[in-house]
């Protein structure tokens, strides 16, 4: 099977998973608060546009790293 080029890594939220729990799962080396802050800054498509704010959806693409340089 042909190789895929490297793209930005993402996860999808689990059922009832909070942002802090997701941050802990995706960024275990960060504190939950710092990890959540990073996740927010990398995923403004969720945190800038969601009503109600902060609602995480099972279908969301949540990036766990910044855009690739």
């Amino acid at each position: 099977m042909a190789e895929l080029s490297r793209q930005r890594r993402f996860v999808t939220p689990g059922p009832d998973e909070t942002l802090e729990q997701l941050a802990l799962r995706a960024l275990p080396d960060e504190s939950p608060e710092a990890g959540a802050d990073l996740i927010r800054s990398w995923n403004l498509h969720i945190f800038a546009m969601r009503r109600p704010p902060g609602l995480l959806l099972g279908s969301d693409v949540v990036f766990v790293e910044p855009p690739l340089g």
Partner: protein
């Protein structure tokens, strides 16, 4: 700690025929990425930043975008 900042913003034509605001963020790793805001959120972002024009958004923290959406709801 370094954090993502707005390095540019411009109006774009939204899929639904409205004007949307495309905000370009530069992250601490030097990479840039766009965020598209609907008309109301874009106007609220400008208000939250005290921006008289979209050019004034440059240099603002990504956190202002979240403030913008809070103002919209």
């Amino acid at each position: 700690m370094a954090e993502a900042v707005i390095v540019g913003a411009e109006m774009v034509a939204g899929h639904d025929g409205t004007v949307e605001l495309l905000v370009r963020l530069r992250h601490p790793n030097g990479a840039e990425g766009p965020v598209v805001l609907d008309e109301e959120t874009g106007l609220n972002l400008m208000a939250a930043c005290g921006a008289a024009s979209v050019e004034d958004l440059t240099g603002q923290s990504w956190r202002k975008i979240v403030e913008g959406v809070r103002c919209s709801t």
